[in-house]
Symmetry: C2
C-alpha cells in the first residue's frame, strides 16, 4: 500500500500502528522517530520498526505516509522539523484526540502538495509506551478522519482504506464536530474519572488503606480510566478547553440538581433519572460498543 | 450450618446468596419471600429455594438465619411483618449498602433474643433479578459486618464463618465508619456515573447516534455503572445523604479547581494531578482489588 511509512512517536498508539502495518503488510518499510535514543533502540530491538532515529527531519524523508503520534503539545515542534523533508504527494496524518487547533497549526506550515488528513483512532488502554502496544488495537474500533481543506480526495480515500485494512470502521467529519462529540464521549468522562480519584485521594490520607481495600464497590473502575497517560490527557483538555469547560458547567449544574433531590429525599425524581440513564446502556450494547456481560463482579 | 435460612427478596444478591448456600450445603432448607407471586414461582422453578411465599411472616418462622435482601426503603415494612415470627436465638442480617439508619430502625423493633448483625457484601453487577444471580458472586469479595450492640459474640462469629464459607473476606466495623468509607469507594462513584450519563443524555437529543457510536472513548465505562438497579441506588443515596452530600461538595470544589487549571492552560498543575491519580491504581492492583490487564480496548 505504501513504500515507506514514518511514525513519529512510538508510544502505545504509534507502536500498535507499526505492529498492525507490519502484520497486514501495508508498507515495504516502517521507520520511526523518537526523541529518546533509548526508545529508538527499544523499537528496533522489539522489531516494531525497521529503522528509528531521533533526527526526525532525516527519517521522515521520502515517506509516502507520515504519522504524528506524539502528544498534541509537541505538534508545532514536530511540524517545524519535518516540513522541509515532506515528500511531494505524501499523506500526513496523526492520531490525536483533538482536531480543530492542530488542523490549522499544521496546515499553515506544510508544503502545498502534501495531503494533511488528521485521523483519530478511538482506541487505547490505560497503559503507555511501546511495550504496551499490540497489532489488534484498532480492530472493530472507530477511526474518525477530519481532512484539511487542501487534502486530495484520492488521498482521503486511500487513508480510509488504510484504516479499514487495520480493522477499523472509518467516519469522516469536520474537526469542530469531532471535537464536540469527543468532548462528550471521551474527554469529560476522563476528566471526571481523574476528579473522582483526586477527590478520594484528598480524603485517603486519613483512610488510605480502607479506600484501596473496598475500592471494588465502584471507585476501582474509575481508577482504571484515571491511570491513562497524564501528558496525553493534559494536552487534550487544554486543546479542547472551550468544549471541556462548557461541559464541566453542565455537569456541575446537573450534579447540584441531583444533590438537591437527595437532600430533599425526592425518591421519585432520583428513580426517574436512574431509569433513564439505564436505557442508554442498551443502545450502546446494541450498537456493538460494549458487551452485555457484567464485569463489575470481577476479581 | 443452619437448619433453615430465610431470604427476604430474591433479586440479584438474594438469589446469589441462596445459590451459594445451596452449593456450599450451609442449610438444610432455604426459603424465600417475595412480594410478587410471579417471582415466588420463578425462584422455585429455577430451584434456587425450596419454598417461597409472599406471606413473609409465615415463611420467616422457625428460621435460624433471616436475611433481608430488599431495597433499604422497605426495611421498615419487612421488620414489622417478621418481628413476631422471629425465632428466639435466631440471627437476623441483611445485605444493604448503608448501615447507620437501618441498624437503629431494626434494633428497636426486634425481640431481645435475636442477634441483629447487618452484613454488606461488596459484590454485585449492573444486572438485576434472580436470573442474574450466581453462586460465585461473593468469592474473594469483602463482606463488612456492623453488629448491633445487643448481638451475641458467638452469633457474630458464626455469621463471619458463614460469609467466609461463601468465599468472602470479612471485616467488622462500626456502622458509621462503614457508611463513610462506602460513600467514598462506592456511593459517590455511582452517583457520578449516573450524573455523567445524565449530562450526556441531556445533550444527546441533538446528537444521540454519535454519542452512542463513539462511546468507547470513555463514556461507555460509566454507562455500565449507571445501569445498576435504580431503586437500590435511590435508597442508598437517600439513606446516606449526609456523607453523599458532603462528598458532592468536595467533588465539585475539586472539579472547579481542574476547570481553572484547564482554562488558564496550567499544564504543570494538570500533569501533577494526573500523575498522582495514576499511582492509586497501582495500590489497588497490589491489594488484589482489580487486575492489571487493560480492558479499555475491549470490543
Amino acid at each position: 500500500m505504501f513504500k515507506k511509512v514514518c511514525i513519529i512517536g512510538c508510544g502505545l498508539i504509534g507502536s500498535s500502528l507499526a505492529r498492525a502495518i507490519k502484520k497486514n503488510r501495508l508498507a515495504d518499510k516502517i521507520v520511526s522517530s523518537n526523541r529518546s535514543e533509548k526508545l529508538n533502540k527499544k523499537v528496533i530491538e522489539l522489531k516494531i520498526v525497521d529503522e528509528s532515529d531521533s533526527d526526525t527531519k532525516k527519517i521522515a524523508k521520502m515517506s509516502d505516509l507520515v504519522v504524528i503520534a506524539t502528544p498534541l503539545s509537541s505538534y508545532e515542534d514536530v511540524i517545524l522539523k519535518i516540513k522541509d523533508s515532506l515528500k511531494s504527494g505524501a499523506i500526513l496524518t496523526d492520531v490525536g484526540s483533538v482536531k480543530e487547533n492542530v488542523i490549522n497549526l499544521v496546515e499553515k506550515n506544510i508544503p502545498k502538495n502534501v495531503s494533511w488528513i488528521p485521523s483519530h483512532p478511538i482506541a487505547g488502554t490505560e497503559e503507555s509506551g511501546p511495550e504496551s502496544g499490540f497489532s489488534e488495537l484498532f480492530k472493530n474500533r472507530w477511526c474518525i478522519l477530519t481532512p484539511s481543506k487542501k487534502a486530495k480526495e484520492k488521498d482521503i480515500k486511500l487513508l480510509k482504506t488504510f484504516w479499514e485494512k487495520l480493522g477499523s470502521k472509518v467516519d469522516i467529519m469536520k474537526a469542530k464536530q469531532h471535537d464536540y462529540i469527543l468532548s462528550v464521549t471521551s474527554h469529560l468522562p476522563h476528566l471526571i474519572a481523574y476528579n473522582i480519584v483526586k477527590t478520594s485521594l484528598d480524603i485517603q490520607d486519613k483512610k488510605k488503606s480502607s479506600i484501596v481495600k473496598y475500592s471494588a464497590g465502584g471507585l476501582r473502575d474509575f481508577t482504571r480510566i484515571a491511570a491513562s497517560n497524564p501528558i496525553m490527557w493534559r494536552d487534550i483538555f487544554i486543546q479542547n478547553k472551550k468544549n471541556t469547560s462548557e461541559l464541566i458547567d453542565k455537569f456541575i449544574k446537573s450534579l447540584e440538581d441531583l444533590k438537591k433531590a437527595i437532600e430533599s429525599e425526592d425518591g421519585k425524581k432520583l428513580e426517574k433519572i436512574f431509569i433513564n440513564t439505564k436505557k442508554i446502556r442498551k443502545d450502546i450494547i446494541e450498537a456493538g460498543q460494549d458487551v452485555k456481560k457484567p464485569d463489575f463482579g470481577r476479581k
